[in-house]
């Protein structure tokens, strides 16, 4: 595990890992490590929230454990579950010990199925725990996370409280499709990640797409910035501008102009109405 002494140092390390943070992202990530607090990264889809967690794992040399959230996620899939099939087998198997021995036995660790949250807590090596798209779980399920986020521990009624052997670095991401509960937010550092400035986007493109010239990258970045200004159903994300850059590179395009943009809009935009709208504004 690697420690950082300043936000600037962390920022340089992240850059080395292929993630280009702005000062705010670097500062908040640094604080999260120092204050041992989870980071809640919120912002539009495709601005690199998940990538941040991955990059943090790389630079701190920690293992990444990921919990992808979805509607209907529950304790059994997020935290732990008793392996009841195995328990049934154990009960049915011949045994001299009698009922008491069995009852003690089937609620021991051998019958416990670890899910991401518990494995992050029990991991011997330091880990980064990524709880992705936390806004997708029901508000009741959110409560599951509270104990972990504030005390880094899990309570299993039959076994007692399990504390983290090493403090995990926790990153939660949210697309803000619903308001998260205040209890959850209070426990986290809030990091709002928005679309990057054209300058930063240019640099991101150049780190992500090898072989891209600086002039083409800045052409792409400013064209994307212009397109984002229009009122679209789904503005192009950074992920999509990277796709676009790759496309232009494959096509052997040297310069971004109206014709090229109009022909390749489908890479950047995902709705026909958006494509029509932008195409109309490009036509002189």
């Amino acid at each position: 595990m690697i420690e950082f002494s300043s936000a600037r140092e962390l920022s340089a390390a992240l850059l080395g890992a292929g993630y280009l943070p702005d000062d705010h992202i670097a500062q908040v990530s640094f604080l999260a490590m120092r204050l041992d607090k989870p980071v809640l990264a919120e912002g539009p889809a495709g601005v690199g929230k998940t990538e941040l967690a991955k990059a943090l794992a790389t630079v701190t040399d920690r293992r990444l454990i990921r919990l992808q959230c979805y509607e209907g996620l529950d304790e059994a899939k997020a935290l732990y579950e008793w392996d009841y099939r195995k328990q049934l087998l154990r009960i049915q198997a011949e045994d001299e010990g009698g009922w008491n021995a069995i009852a003690d036995d089937i609620f021991s660790e051998g019958f416990l199925l670890e899910r991401p949250l518990l494995s992050a807590i029990r991991a011997q090596d330091p880990v980064v725990l990524l709880i992705d798209e936390v806004d997708r779980v029901e508000i009741e399920t959110e409560a599951l996370l509270l104990e972990i986020l504030s005390d880094f521990q899990v309570t299993i009624p039959e076994l007692g409280t399990i504390e983290a052997s090493s403090q995990p670095l926790v990153v939660l991401t949210s697309n803000n499709t619903r308001e998260l509960s205040d209890a959850l937010k209070r426990r986290c550092l809030f990091l709002h990640i928005d679309y990057p400035t054209p300058e930063r986007e240019r640099d991101i493109l150049m780190t992500q797409v090898p072989g891209l010239s600086q002039s083409l990258a800045s052409g792409i970045a400013s064209a994307v910035a212009t397109i984002r200004e229009a009122a679209l159903r789904k503005p192009p994300s950074v992920a999509e501008s990277i796709d676009w850059a790759r496309t232009l590179l494959v096509l052997g395009v040297g310069e971004v102009d109206e014709r090229v943009t109009a022909e390749t809009l489908a890479v950047l935009l995902k709705y026909q109405t958006d494509i029509d709208k932008v195409a109309a504004s490009l036509a002189t």
Binding site: D23, D135, E138, F190, R233, A283, T284
Partner: protein, 456 residues
Amino acid sequence: MIDLLTSFTRELRAAGVPVSTVEAIDASESLDFVDLTDRESLRSALSSTMVKHIEHLPAFDRAFDVFFSLQTPVEAEEPQPEVDAPAAAVDPGELSLEELRGLLAEAVISGDVDAIRRLARAAVLAFGGIEAGRPVGGVYYLYRVMRRLEADTMFEDVDADATPLEQADQARARQNRIDLLRSYVEEEIRRMLVADRGPEAVAATIRKQAIEDIDLGHASRADLVRLQHTIRPLTRRLAARLAQRRRARNPGRLDVRRTVRSSMSAGGIPIDPAFKRRHITKPDVVMLCDVSGSVSTFAFFTMQLMYAMRSQFARVRVFAFIDGVDEITDYFAPGVDFAEAAGRVMREADVVAVDGHSDYGRVFSEFEEQFGEAVTPRTTLIITGDARSNYRNPHEERFAELAERARTSWWLNPEMSRFWNTGDSVMARYQDLCDGVFEVRTLRQLESFVEKVSLG
């Protein structure tokens, strides 16, 4: 520093940012890991610990600028130079307006922060006309300085012959420069105001209403644009919440077949019971919106919200009226620009029958004749308007027929309830005929109403 942080916390709370005690403690702890000479990293630390909602960030930034702009730490070390005689190679106080503009433009283009700051201070001193002790927030001073500098013409205009992409690029660069200049001028003004009256007083004067609490009827153009941007995230949140509430209310009945099937893997013990999804009945909505001048903004906002929530309803039909009534459902096909469609409604729909003054009585009669079949016993009828019928016959008996036939009927009035039934408002005549009348003036009220309707 702790004192400053405490009063900063107090200001944030006053500005509507709920900062809990735990969060204030986190903020003070974070100071140990921040380079205090770097204002932006201080801003990052405080915003990430104290602000947990995107909507609260602008309020935080305003307060932060006031509280932590008085002295940049560098200046705190050297004695603060007299504001009217800044140490500089060129004494900006001696410059003419033309020279000052030229130098400022140059400094902004080259990005020379020290020079911009120095020149902006000179400009503020020369043109701001700041009066000590006056309890203002500085917006007026900013306006004065920017107008004298003619900031709009300071930088090269967009090349008319360029292609659309180049033009957009140039326009953005130009706007960035103007914004940069404005931010420095603003900072200088703020610095002087804070020096004059202290951060608490200045912050209190620039405090703004939260976007959800702005009165839609009296919103400025800039506020309307901001409101537009909040609609989509708002509907997404609302839809998610509704789905949740519906599920919570309808656990459904036991699905025996699936329960037995899944019990097989546990040796026939039904460990994990399965439930049938219950069919959800969605309301069928008919909206009747007054689009006359005084309440049209509100009407279109309500329509927009209902349209965005379309998936939550079986059907939405919308009618607009002033003294005539016309169906406008088809004006808002999916993907159509809403502002444009609203403009088309005003131009093309037959909403004016006589003189263009609201006439509720006439409208209800006409609606019954032309579109009466739209309202059925399954309909949720929503009327938006201020019930100001210009002293004409309100014909409440016609409205009663409609309201009785509909499953439920709601009336949204964008006027403050204490103005109802004053002047030509005939709200009381209709009030008892509806299932409910609501004062809806802000986005927050509108949101809670839509939630209520969607749950049926």
